[in-house]
C-alpha cells in the first residue's frame, strides 16, 4: 500500500480536489505543505539519541594484497563485525610502494590510518619522530611468551617497550634449480664462501637460455642485497654512532664481490623488478634467485607441472664473504604499528580487532592464505600437526624448515639491519627510502666506478641529504 493511501490527510486532500472543493493551485500548495511536514517529521522521527548509533570506524592498511589473503581478512573482519556492532573495520591491502606513498600523504595531512603494516626500519624512524605509539598492552594480551623470541626481538626497543606487533614472518632464501645441476659437478651443499659460489656460478649459466643468478636492480630490492651481503661479509652500513660505514673493508669487499657476480646475471638485470626475478626462476630463465615463501605461488603459476616440487626448486645455502663469520638473510617481520595522531577510540577498537585476529581459529585462516610465506608468530603452531599438516606446508616443507633454521640461528635480520644496534639508527628508514645505496651499486657494477669513490659519494649523500636534514 502506498503512503498516500495510508495517510488520511492526503486522502482527504485528494478527495476534496476530486469533488471540486479545492482549486488546483490550493491543492498543490496544501499538498506541498503536507509533504514537507511529513518529510520533516520523518527525519526527526528517525534521529536517535546521540551515541546510540555511533560507530567507531577503524582504518587498517596492510601489505598483503593477494586475493587469497584479502578473502581471509574479509572473512575475519565480517566475523568480528558480528560480535562488535559498534566497530567498523576498514581493512585495505596494498603493495609496499603504494603504502609508502599513501602513508606520506596521510601523515602530511595529519590523518594517518589507525594502524598499518610497516618494516622495522620504519618503526625506528617513526618512533624517533614521535609518529607511533607503543603496543605493550596488545603484545601482552596476545601472549608475549607464546610469540617467537626472534620475532619479539625486533619489536622491543631499549626503552623496554614494544613498538609494533608482527602480523606474520618470513625469511629470505636462496632458491636454486635442482634440475640445472645435472651434467655439472656443482654441489651447492658444499658452498661455504663467496669464492665457492663464484667458482660455480659460471657453471650454472648457459646464456641466453638461462643465467646463474637473478637479482632486481630497483632500489628497494638492491638495498636487500646490499645489506645481506654486507652482513655476510662481517660489515654493517652504519657505525656505532649511526654514521654511514660504507667505506669500510666489508662494504668495499661486498661491492667487489658484486662486480664478480655480474657476468652471471641477465644482461638487463638492472631494470628487472623483484617479481620478474621470481618468474624468471619459475620459468627456468635463471638458476638461482633470492626469494620468499610466496614464490611457491609463482611456481604453481608458471613452472611446468612436472617441475612444481622442492626437488626441482631447491633451497641452497647462502655463503659468507672473506671477512664474515656467518651468512645473513632478511627477516620479514612487518609489524602492525599504531599512529599517534589517530583518535584514541579508533586505536582501542583496532586493538580489539587484532586480539580477535590473532585468535587461533582466525589467525590460522590468515596464515593458510599463503601457507609457506605468512608464517605464524606463535611457536606452538610449528609443533601443531594441524598447522604443519596443511598440504602446502607439507609439500614445501624444505622451504619452511629453511626459514625456521634462519630464525633459530639468529641470522635473519630486518631490512638494512646488519647488526642489532642498527635498529636504533633514527634515519635508517630515510636511507632505505632513498636510492643512494642502489646508486652506489650501479655506479660500481654498471658504470665501472671505483668502489672506494662510489662508497664515499654514497656516504657523503647520506651525511648531507639525510643525516644533515634530520638534524636540521
Amino acid at each position: 500500500m502506498s503512503r498516500w493511501q495510508r495517510d488520511p490527510h492526503l486522502q482527504r486532500l485528494v478527495a476534496e480536489r476530486h469533488q471540486g472543493h479545492l482549486s488546483r493551485r490550493a491543492f498543490l500548495a496544501r499538498l506541498g505543505g503536507s509533504v514537507a511536514g511529513a518529510a520533516a517529521a520523518g527525519v526527526v522521527g528517525h534521529v536517535k539519541p546521540a551515541g546510540a548509533q555511533k560507530k567507531v570506524v577503524v582504518t587498517m592498511w596492510d601489505t598483503e594484497p593477494n586475493p587469497a589473503t584479502r578473502a581471509a581478512v574479509k572473512a575475519i573482519v565480517e566475523d568480528f563485525a558480528k560480535l562488535h556492532k559498534d566497530i567498523e573495520i576498514r581493512a585495505e591491502g596494498m603493495g609496499w610502494a603504494d603504502m609508502d606513498r599513501k602513508l606520506q600523504a596521510a601523515m602530511a595531512a595529519k590523518s594517518p590510518p589507525t594502524a598499518s603494516h610497516t618494516q622495522t626500519y620504519v618503526v625506528t624512524s617513526f618512533r624517533a619522530k614521535g609518529l607511533i605509539e607503543p603496543v605493550d598492552d596488545l603484545v601482552k594480551a596476545i601472549g608475549e611468551d607464546r610469540i617467537f623470541p626472534s620475532v619479539l626481538r625486533w619489536l622491543k626497543y631499549p626503552d623496554g617497550k614494544y613498538w609494533g606487533l608482527t602480523h606474520a614472518w618470513g625469511a629470505d632464501m636462496l632458491g636454486g634449480r635442482g634440475d640445472y645441476l645435472k651434467g655439472t659437478d656443482v654441489d651447492p651443499r658444499s658452498w661455504k664462501t663467496w669464492d665457492d659460489w663464484l667458482r660455480d656460478l659460471p657453471k650454472l649459466t648457459k646464456a641466453p637460455q638461462y643465467y646463474g643468478l637473478s637479482l632486481s636492480g630497483l632500489p628497494f630490492f638492491a638495498n636487500e642485497d646490499v645489506y645481506m651481503w654486507a652482513g655476510s661479509n662481517g660489515g654493517s652500513l652504519f657505525d656505532a654512532k649511526g654514521q654511514p660505514a660504507l667505506e669500510t673493508p666489508p662494504i668495499l669487499g661486498m661491492l667487489e664481490f658484486w662486480k664478480k657476480v655480474r657476468p652471471s646475471l641477465p644482461p638487463g638485470w638492472a631494470s628487472h623488478d623483484y617479481l620478474e626475478t621470481l618468474s624468471a626462476w619459475a620459468t627456468g630463465k635463471t638458476a638461482q634467485v633470492y626469494m620468499w615463501g610466496r614464490t611457491a605461488g609463482y611456481i604453481d603459476q608458471y613452472a611446468p607441472p612436472d617441475k612444481r616440487n622442492p626437488e626441482v626448486f631447491q633451497i641452497w645455502p647462502k655463503t659468507i664473504g672473506p671477512l664474515g663469520k656467518a651468512p645473513l638473510t632478511q627477516f620479514d617481520n612487518e609489524p602492525w604499528v599504531f599512529y599517534a595522531d589517530a583518535p584514541a577510540d579508533e586505536k582501542a577498537a583496532a586493538k580489539e580487532f587484532l586480539k580477535f585476529f590473532f585468535k587461533a581459529e582466525n589467525y590460522r585462516r590468515y596464515c593458510d592464505s599463503v601457507p609457506v610465506h605468512l608464517n605464524s608468530i606463535f611457536k606452538a603452531d610449528f609443533q601443531d600437526s594441524a598447522y604443519m599438516g596443511h598440504p602446502e606446508r607439507k609439500r614445501w616443507k624444505p622451504w619452511l624448515d629453511a626459514q625456521v633454521k634462519w630464525v633459530e640461528i639468529g641470522r635473519a635480520h630486518p631490512l638494512l639491519i646488519c647488526n642489532p644496534q642498527d635498529m636504533l639508527v633514527p634515519w635508517i628508514g630515510d636511507v632505505a627510502a632513498a636510492p643512494i645505496l642502489a646508486d652506489m651499486v650501479m655506479a660500481v657494477v654498471e658504470r665501472g666506478k671505483d668502489p672506494k669513490a662510489a662508497a664515499k659519494e654514497a656516504s657523503d649523500k647520506i651525511s648531507r641529504d639525510i643525516i644533515g636534514k634530520a638534524k636540521g
Binding site: D100, Q104, A108, L218, P219, P267, G268, S271, A434, M442
Partner: protein, 295 residues
Amino acid sequence: MSRRRRQALIGMGLLLPSAALVLVFTLFPVGYNLWLGFYAKHSLRATSTWVGLGNYAQLLGDPDFWRSVWLATEYAVLSTALQIVVGVAAALILHQRFPGCDFLRGVALFPYMIPTVIAVFVWRWLMNDLYGVIPYVLGTLPIPMPAAWLTHDTIMWVLIVLSVWTFFPFVLVNVLARLQTIPPELYDAARVDGASAARQFAHVTLPQLRNVLLIVMLLRGIWMFTKFDVPWLLGFGGGAGEAIRTLPVFTYQRSFTYYQAGMGAALSNVMFGLLLMAVTIYFIAFPPAEEANDA
C-alpha cells in the same frame, strides 16, 4: 547606486567564484610552493626550518641535479624533434585519400589514447631481455645488437622511442587539421610554375604549417621536459632507471624518497624558471607570424 556601478558589482560578483577557484587551486599552491622552497622540511613532519636560499645553493653544487637537467633536456629535445618528424610525415600520408585512410586515421590515435601506465608496461615487456619480442627479433638480424635494451647505456633510447610512439598522434592531429585548410590553389600555382613535390613541400606546405608547428613544438617541448610518468614507470628512478632520472623524476625523489619537501619545492621552482627562460628565448627566436601571412 548608479546603474554603471551596480553592473560593475554584478559583474565582479559573477567573476568571484571563478577568481576564488583560481586563487585556491592555482595561485595558492604556486605561492605555497615558492614559500616552501625557502624551508628545510621533512615530508613526514609538521615542522620546518627557514633556510633562505640554502636549498637553491645546494642544488647549484649538486652534480646529480645538473645531470638530471641534462637528461631532461636531452629527452625533451630528442623526443620532441622525433615526434615532429614522425607526426608531420604521418599527417602528410594520412592527408592523401586512399583505401583505408579513414581507418588508419583512427588507428593512428591509438597510442595517444591508451593510459600511459599500460603503454609503458607493455613496452617494458616488449623490451625485456629474457622474454621480450623486440630484443628477440632484433637479435635475429645480421647486425650487432645490445644483449639488453633496458640498461644504463640504452634505456634513454627506449624512453625516447616509447615517448615518440605515444605522443606523435598529438602532432599528427594538429598538422593534419592545418593541412586540410591549406588552399589547393597554392599547390595548383606551384605546379603551374613547375615545382616538384619536394619544392611544393618546402615552399608551400612548410610555410603554411609554420605557426602550427611552432605551437606544437612549444607545447610538446614543455610537456616532455616536465614529463614524469613515462620515465618513472620505465625505470622507477633507480637501477637502469638511474640513466633516465630526468629533472621531474629527480624532483619527485627529493620530495618523496628523500622526504625533502622543501628541496622538492625548490626544484619545482627551478623547473618552472628554466621553462620560463626557454619559452622566452623560443618566442624571441621564433616570433609567431601574422595570421594574414597564413592564408
